[in-house]
């Protein structure tokens, strides 16, 4: 579903991503692990089309992201680590805005939206109040609901559980897992929380200094490392020379 080939990205003279080859199969739950400043957010932004690679190829659901970005964006959902939203719009107006720019059918979208708002405990909060008055968690929940309501085929998330309370985080994780199992969604998340990877991941990728140091199903990584402790695997792979 997601394939990258020889992906490179630099900021000035600093090369952040080096020859990244990644393959995420359809309906998989892929977790990208890595220490701070390893290149996780840059990778996610490259995959979402927010950053342009210096070289390499990205394919999302057989669509070349670099050649046909508009078509690819229709099937991509992206949830950033910081929920920056239009502060002067109300929650409802933001929902309508997203529905209109993605040209979604009003009835189907609103139905989905209502279900998700209820599930994430936001339905009572979506009033005439501006987003600037929402808490961090509410903004994050709003982005999640709006993104899922438009039914993307691929969902990319950068540290999605930051700011969510344990109950909402649990609901969200269950929801994503179910969607993947039903064959409706491919998920790729970046995090440095190992428990999330252990709990949810079908496949894990460990990125270190911009290079993909290890990639595959968790069982395979455990077999290679000779331990079932993901923390030990992570520490071994990411230790500095």
């Amino acid at each position: 579903m997601i394939t990258t080939y020889n992906l490179n990205k630099s900021f000035g003279t600093h090369q952040v991503i080096k020859n990244l080859d990644l393959c995420v199969r359809k309906n998989a739950f892929f977790v990208l692990l890595g220490p701070n400043a390893a290149g996780k957010t840059t990778t996610m932004k490259l995959l979402a089309g927010l950053l342009k690679p210096d070289s390499g190829q990205i394919s999302i659901g057989s669509i070349d992201l670099l050649k046909n970005p508009v078509r690819a964006r229709e099937i991509i959902g992206y949830i950033p680590d910081h929920p920056f939203l239009y502060e002067k719009l109300t929650g409802l107006e933001f929902i309508e805005f997203i529905r209109d720019i993605y040209r979604k059918d009003k009835r189907a979208f609103d139905l989905n939206m209502g279900r998700l708002l209820q599930l994430l405990g936001l339905n009572r909060h979506i009033t005439g109040e501006c987003i600037e008055n929402y808490s961090h968690g509410m903004k994050q929940r709003l982005i999640i609901a709006v993104t899922l309501a438009r039914e993307p085929l691929v969902l990319m998330m950068d540290e999605p559980l930051v700011g969510l309370d344990p109950r909402t985080a649990n609901i969200f994780k269950t929801l994503l897992k179910k969607e993947c199992e039903k064959g409706r969604l491919t998920v790729i998340i970046s995090t440095h929380t190992l428990s999330v990877a252990k709990e949810l991941a079908d496949e894990v990728g460990i990125i270190h200094r911009g290079e993909l140091s290890a990639c595959g199903p968790l069982s395979m990584l455990e077999e290679i490392a000779g331990t079932t402790d993901l923390e030990k695997i992570f520490l071994t792979i990411t230790q500095d020379d």
Binding site: G12, R71, F84, L85, E96, T127, N133
Partner: protein, 561 residues
């Protein structure tokens, strides 16, 4: 502590410059060259214009003399308005203040830091633009060296004084009228009082003894309108008088006025600092909880704004969504609205002052012609200012939410055209209303009115493209304060380029008509010349529009979030 904060700002500025140079050294060199070219162009143009004016018999030296007073008065008044707008954002809408206020710092230090920022943002453009003019002024009038020595300090002192007044006004307004609606009502009532005054009480004064069509009589009739620049209590008068004394060789008198200005500036700054100690924190605190600014404003599901946007549905579902979002974001931002009210208030002042020219028009075709072109220039200048204030920062104001647009299944270049179209339509409506009202106020013929509409329509398209295009070329997604975006390098360049375009366009059409009216050109030659000038104007406009759109699209294609 304050020294450390200043150092931090300086280091931050230096790092930004170095990073910008490292990212693209050519861009930095090109920008530096553009600024150098603009300064040189202003100097050369000023030399030429001042030499022509000074060479005119009888009225020339009077006009040149008055020009210094009028220009310094304009700078002074504009700086007050500009600093009110900028300080409202830097003092009360800047997240930096929110973090500084929790540091163990005296409020006075925070105010000093943000006040200095306001002074720099408000004044640098004016000083940069007008210094070459005043240098040219000195050259034309063969000023001694002491004039040049005191020129920059005097202009800087005047700028500091004006921005201090602006800062004090902001401090008082926000403390007295914390509620946003009350500020709006206050500003509207000030403008309303002026409108009443100008429409009812003020009378047009013409000297009856002279032939009303003679140059002297017309200048005399215009003088009352600019006589305010020679009011002795006006700080710009002290600056102008001081500089004039230096030019005339009266060094002692020049020094007297310069020190007088200096003392008054120090006094005003001290008063502003005193006011800051009394009012700044209370104002800031009040703004955080004031209804209508940031807190808990509830909007109806379907507001009047939604109803007004309904006709825009014809643009298609996603363009409609973008336009509606832009309009709502603009309208709900109290800082944008305050700027809007201030600038539209200036427009009201302009209409109010037009009445004074009615007496001048009479039947003299030369003056009718001059006033028509002045009106055309003023209308487009108003548009240029409004476009630089509101159209230029539109892309930058997307800020950290740009990722939403970056992910949307729409090409960003189409979004650029959507914003351009929206602004162009608004500009077309505005300038056509302004030119129609002003032409009616000046009792101009319908042919001149239609020519004005045609020219302003073309010019408004180009001015809007300059503003929106430069907004993309100089996009700054990290800056959240709109006033800072506008006062930055991109905003200043937008204003300068708009100004240059307006002057060039009007000169192209005005010179042949003026030559014909003054009987130095026959009608047949004029017709040919006017066609040529018209075609040249259209060509230059189209070329400018294409070039700017091309650069903006190039920038958009490389944009990352």
């Amino acid at each position: 502590m304050i020294k450390k904060l200043y150092n931090l700002k300086i280091v931050n500025f230096k790092n930004t410059c170095v990073a910008s140079y490292r990212r693209n050294p050519y861009e930095a060199v090109i920008l530096f060259s553009i600024f150098l070219c603009i300064s040189s162009a202003v100097l050369v143009a000023s030399l030429k214009i001042l030499s022509i004016l000074n060479g005119l018999s009888v009225v020339g030296p009077i006009l040149v003399d008055r020009l210094m007073y009028v220009l310094l008065m304009i700078i002074f008044l504009m700086l007050i308005i500009s600093s009110i707008i900028v300080s409202f954002s830097t003092l009360y809408n800047d997240k930096e203040v929110d973090s500084l206020i929790f540091l163990p710092l005296p409020v006075r230090s925070i105010f000093l830091l943000k006040g200095t920022e306001t002074v720099v943002y408000s004044a640098w453009g004016f000083i940069f633009l007008f210094t070459p003019f005043f240098v040219a002024y000195g050259i034309v009038l063969r000023a001694p060296n002491i004039y040049y020595v005191f020129l920059i300090p005097c202009v800087c002192l005047l700028s500091l004084l004006a921005t201090s007044i602006g800062l004090s006004i902001t401090l008082i307004l926000t403390r007295l009228f914390i509620k946003y609606r009350t500020i709006v009502l206050f500003v509207i009532s000030v403008y309303g009082s002026y409108a009443l005054y100008s429409s009812g009480i003020k009378e047009i004064r013409l000297l009856n003894k002279l032939d009303p069509t003679s140059t002297i009589a017309i200048i005399n009739s215009l003088v009352p309108n600019i006589r305010f620049s020679q009011w002795r209590l006006l700080p710009s008068f002290w600056c102008a008088e001081g500089l004039s004394c230096f030019i005339q060789g009266s060094t002692v008198q020049g020094l007297f006025y310069s020190f007088f200005l200096c003392m008054n500036t120090v006094f005003t700054v001290r008063i502003t600092l005193l006011l800051s100690r009394l009012l700044f924190y209370a104002g800031w605190e009040g703004m955080q909880t004031a209804p209508g600014t940031t807190q808990k404003t509830l909007y109806k599901k379907k507001s009047l704004l939604d109803c007004l946007c309904i006709p825009l549905k014809i643009t298609g579902q996603h363009y409609y969504a973008f336009i509606k979002k832009d309009i709502k974001m603009f309208w709900r931002d109290p800082f944008q609205r305050t700027q809007c009210i201030l600038l539209f208030g200036l427009l009201a002042f302009y209409f109010g002052n037009l009445r004074s020219f009615q007496g001048v028009i009479i039947n003299d075709p030369i003056w009718k012609n001059i006033i028509w072109f002045l009106n055309l220039g003023a209308t487009n200048l108003i548009l240029g200012t409004l476009a630089a204030r509101f159209a230029f920062p539109q892309f930058s104001l997307e800020g950290k939410c740009f990722w939403v647009l970056g992910l949307a299944p729409i090409e960003l270049k189409k979004l650029f055209f959507q914003k351009l179209l929206l602004n162009a339509c608004a500009a077309l409506c505005l300038v056509n209303i302004v030119i129609s009202i002003s032409s009616k106020s000046l009792n101009l013929s319908s042919s001149l009115l239609w020519l004005g509409i045609l020219m302003t329509s073309l010019m408004s398209l180009c001015i809007t493209t300059i503003s929106v295009g430069f907004g993309v070329i100089f996009i700054d997604l990290k800056e959240e304060v709109s006033a800072k975006i506008v006062s930055g390098m991109g905003g200043t360049l937008t204003l300068i380029f708009s100004l240059m375009y307006i002057i060039m366009s009007i000169a192209l059409i005005a010179i042949p008509i003026h030559l014909m009216v003054t009987k130095r050109l026959s009608i047949t030659v004029l017709k040919q010349l006017e066609w040529g000038a018209g075609m040249l104007l259209v060509t230059i406009s189209i070329l400018s529009i294409s070039l700017i759109i091309r650069c903006a699209l190039h920038k958009i294609s490389r944009l990352e979030f």
